[in-house]
Symmetry: C2
Subunit: 427 residues, 2 copies
């Protein structure tokens, strides 16, 4: 199907109007015109009479979901070795596995499984970490390009505190590899784009960070990294960067913490101080909230209500393989769940997230990193999911709103029957 | 297949030896003789040569799981209205829905969906709350009996603090209904048995509790109820029973808190004091730990490590519909997950649960409420699940132990391909 075609999907349409308001229209039409949403209507307006229409029957139609943080090479070991905390898990499981991606055959096998599963998942957009390997990352980009999903993908930079098999030997080598990667892929893709990806402060020397900052400016690249995930990690950053007032300040020191011309995603932010949050707000840094990962790695629960109150941009991430599930629907439920535990156990002055708020984060919240994406408001990219919940029979008639929440909680990965990205039918 | 038959299952066999040790035998045989396990063998011993053998190929074979706490009438609204806390949720959602089970047609529709899904689930045994309605509860028992699952099922008692449509009008009416129920079903079932089910202290007057205690003694019934789930509920019990030293003491006051001849399951125990835990230990009261429910209803995280250290019997429950998922595999992962948050947020002196510990709780831990169930040790009931994880391709060879953990985390409800209860093939 061509991007320029005008067509409609008909079904039970649910989408966020803003952070708290969910629009629900039963048996309505959402129009795609040149890859963009051209309105949701109860009846087709005159100018759209006769356009092709896919009738999704009684299914739900929602905007595509954006996975704002995940690691493609970790997909292979999701759900294994879960009895470890972050830094142990990195050294024992993650680094040895990522080292394998030096072998392009292995990378191909693993990334093909990942790309196929991501394609079938509810994510229409994603911000993805590769490994430090240029060839494997380019292969990953090739494979994701083919899926039709829109993604930022980063070759990882790491020149310290890795392992003998997983570390770039000097800042120069890391920089040269990055430049080679950017040169190789220049102009190559429609759907995927590069994103600068210093792994996290403990993995990147000051010299490397300075060089990456130059690359960021030259190429006007967006940036993704990790921030304040775990108390041990946060303390370590303070040791490594004694000049920094807080973890985020270490990125900011090198100009890699948002601001004009430097769109930045920071994953986790579980232990962000008020100062750090204020700087994120000032610099427009996105939070990729990864509730499942923060649980699995015993990291904690991020203060998401505080982020919202401060007006930060917040999206959700699966953080494969800190998170074990690739489902962004599950991430919505997880976000609500952990926010309730945070309310109960840490701070009863901050209300738990509502379903509508978490749904917003997974759609418009993270989608906005890509521009206008994640809603069916006019002019938004036509990213849509068709979800069939007939596998969950019910003795009563349910409202569409009830069915939406139920589907998010109960989806077993088999509800998704159709997916569109920027007007293009993926399946 | 007759219960008296001797047969073998062949595959990758995983089971708990005790609370911390997991046995894994690749391509081994587990033998069923007269409904009981007769050993796990790498090679078939002479006396078993020639017995029928089902070869599960490369699948995993694990003991059946016991769901120690769930509410059948709440299955219909699982995953909906999740933005409410316990007491609001009971009054707004739960009580109105349970009131519908006065209508036997509605009960039949709803319970058929539940029974069918429970049959297909990884639970081989379950302890189930019905509603206060005698006829609907008997219908539920009929339906579960047909599934082949072994279950304790209780008609609920509640004579106060319900709603106009969901409350027994007097202790006498509740008692008479209970006696009628017990008389109706006497000797009727092979697989299901009655369990005395006072909803929780706030729902049962002192007079009713006294009468139920007499019934418990006359009929030698086991007991199931709720305990220390939520701070508001716990404070309310203190008001309602000023004579009680703590919540569990209110049950104990009426002789409905374990002890000789009164096997008892208490769900939740999130806020159990040291005194309460000590009494549970003394009386042999089982904890039904329901991590997903305690998260969804903003209740908190139970001190499971403390229960284990004190030597309590602990099993897992889905607590449908406080919990939204009927999967006891998911309950294992949830138990590990929330224990990590408890370690991080509440008490770093109590280690998180390991995978092996949570697996034990879902198998032997809860299974022991039914006698010898939940392992493949000799003489245990032959309850077995065959799990096919080929839907999760991997670029490497994995160990069976790795595959088991992965399957528990990733199962989408579609891995279970075979189920046996007490030697009988369910599917």
């Amino acid at each position: 199907m061509s991007d320029s075609k005008t067509f409609a999907l008909k079904g039970n349409i649910c989408y966020s109007l803003d952070q708290t308001r969910l629009a629900v229209m039963e048996q309505a039409y959402v129009i795609c015109e040149n890859g963009l949403c051209a309105g949701v209507y109860q009846e087709l307006p005159g100018r759209f009479q006769g356009i092709p229409c896919t009738d999704a029957g009684d299914s739900l139609i929602i905007p595509g979901l954006t996975d704002l943080h995940l690691h493609a090479p970790q997909y292979s070991f999701r759900g294994m070795n879960m009895d470890l905390e972050l830094l142990d898990w990195l050294n024992t499981v993650t680094f040895p596995e990522e080292a394998r991606y030096a072998d392009l055959d292995y990378a191909g096998q693993a990334y093909r499984i990942f790309a196929e599963d991501l394609k079938k998942s509810p994510a229409t957009r994603a911000c993805i970490f590769g490994t430090l390997h240029v060839e494997a990352t380019e292969l990953l980009m090739d494979l994701i390009e083919e899926t039709g999903i829109k993604a930022y993908i980063g070759k990882v930079n790491m020149d310290r505190n890795g392992s003998p098999k997983l570390q770039e030997e000097s800042p120069r080598i890391s920089v040269d590899a990055t430049l080679r990667w950017l040169s190789d892929i220049s102009g190559k893709y429609q759907n995927v784009k590069p994103i600068l990806t210093p792994r996290f402060i403990p993995s990147c020397s000051d010299e490397l960070m300075s060089e990456l900052s130059s690359i960021q400016k030259s190429f006007r690249l967006p940036v993704q990294s990790h921030l304040s995930e775990n108390p041990g990690e946060t303390a370590w950053v303070q040791e490594l960067c004694p000049y920094s007032a807080f973890y985020g300040d270490a990125y900011d020191h090198f100009g890699l913490f948002g601001g004009e011309g430097c769109p930045t995603i920071m994953a986790h932010c579980v232990y962000s101080s008020d100062e750090e949050i204020a700087l994120m707000k000032k610099r427009g840094v996105y939070v990729a909230h990864c509730p499942q990962s923060n649980t699995n790695l015993s990291s904690g629960i991020a203060p998401v209500r505080q982020f919202l109150e401060q007006g930060l941009s917040v999206g959700l991430g699966t953080d494969i393989a800190g998170g074990h599930s690739l489902s962004m629907l599950r991430a919505i439920a997880d976000a609500v769940q952990v926010s309730k535990l945070r309310w109960r156990l840490l701070d009863s002055s901050k209300k738990a997230l509502t379903f509508a708020e978490a749904f917003y984060m997974a759609t418009m919240g993270g989608g906005s990193f890509f521009g206008k994406a994640g809603s069916f408001l006019n002019g938004f990219s036509f990213d849509a999911l068709i979800l069939d919940d007939r596998r969950f029979p019910h003795p009563q008639e349910l409202t569409v709103r009830e069915r939406l929440e139920r589907l998010v909680y109960l989806d077993d990965g088999h509800c998704l029957t159709g997916k569109y990205v920027a007007g293009r039918k993926i399946f």
